[in-house]
């Protein structure tokens, strides 16, 4: 069978790529997509731990369902906020939305 470490390493790589995307990108939609990658890594981790290490509790699978639910809500809200930002500032780049910076 596949050892648990394979899944955990895959999830670590996915999460790191998400971190890179969040930090390097300027456009809010691209940052949101990188956040999605990080959430996917978290879900893989939750399920891997649930099916390998705690077969009678499997809280991880339940939590993965919650992660996916909350992520869907988050995407909807975040895209609405990005639309607002675009309408008010005519840009979707986060470094140009600097009204709070001083």
């Amino acid at each position: 069978m596949i050892p648990i470490n394979d899944f955990l390493v895959l999830s670590a790589i996915l999460f790191s790529l998400g971190i890179y995307g969040v930090l390097a990108r300027r456009n809010a939609v691209l940052i949101l997509m990188s956040v999605e990658l990080m959430l996917q890594a978290v879900a893989i981790n939750f399920i891997a731990f649930a099916v390998y290490l705690s077969p009678d509790q499997f809280t991880g699978v339940i939590f993965a369902i919650f992660v996916i639910t909350i992520a869907a809500a988050e995407v909807g809200l975040a895209l609405a906020i990005i639309l607002r930002l675009y309408r008010n500032r005519a840009t979707a780049n986060v470094d140009e939305a600097d009204t709070l910076k001083w």
Partner: protein, 165 residues
């Protein structure tokens, strides 16, 4: 290498490759298409973990709804017309931070002794998940549905804007 590991790599390569495409593509639409590839491959990973229910949910919600929403947002904010660079000047620091994080987390995964069986998957049936979800986790489940509704309402109100706009 067993055939299971071969299948794992067949699924892991598009997952990671798609993710690399998402964070490095020069064209935002390509980035979104890479995201679809990566998310569908993650559904394959869920199937390898014997979580078919989550794989189906993944394809429906991520492969369908989320990516369509993202593409719509790109269209509405006209990201394609923007001549500016997609990456900020902080890119080398981002690569450094991500690289350090990847190194540390992979090292800690490899060096940790997990309690219990780490070679064999315990199949968790949909029936078991449903029983747990509607008994032990009934209250969080209801709260999650409330969160979804509030987020939907909030999104509609935010995106609609003020009257007479």
């Amino acid at each position: 290498m067993t055939y299971e590991e071969v299948i794992f790599f067949v699924i892991a390569v598009p997952t990671v490759g798609g993710a690399i495409g998402v964070v490095t593509a020069r064209n935002v639409i390509h980035s979104a298409l890479f995201l679809i590839l990566s998310l569908l491959a993650v559904a394959g990973v869920f199937i390898l973990l014997a979580a078919e229910f989550l794989a189906i949910v993944q394809v429906l919600i991520y492969g369908g709804a989320v990516t369509i929403l993202v593409l719509f947002a790109m269209m509405l904010t006209r990201v394609r017309d923007l001549p500016a660079a997609l990456d900020g000047p902080q890119r080398p620091f981002a690569a450094l931070a991500a690289g350090v994080f990847m190194g540390v987390s992979i090292l800690s995964v490899v060096s940790t002794e997990w309690p219990g069986e780490t070679e064999e998957i315990n199949v968790i049936s949909i029936e078991q998940i449903g029983n747990q979800l509607f008994t032990t986790w009934a209250v969080p489940f209801e709260i999650a549905s409330l969160v979804l509704m509030v987020a939907l309402l909030g999104a509609i109100i935010l995106a609609r804007g003020e009257e007479g706009e």
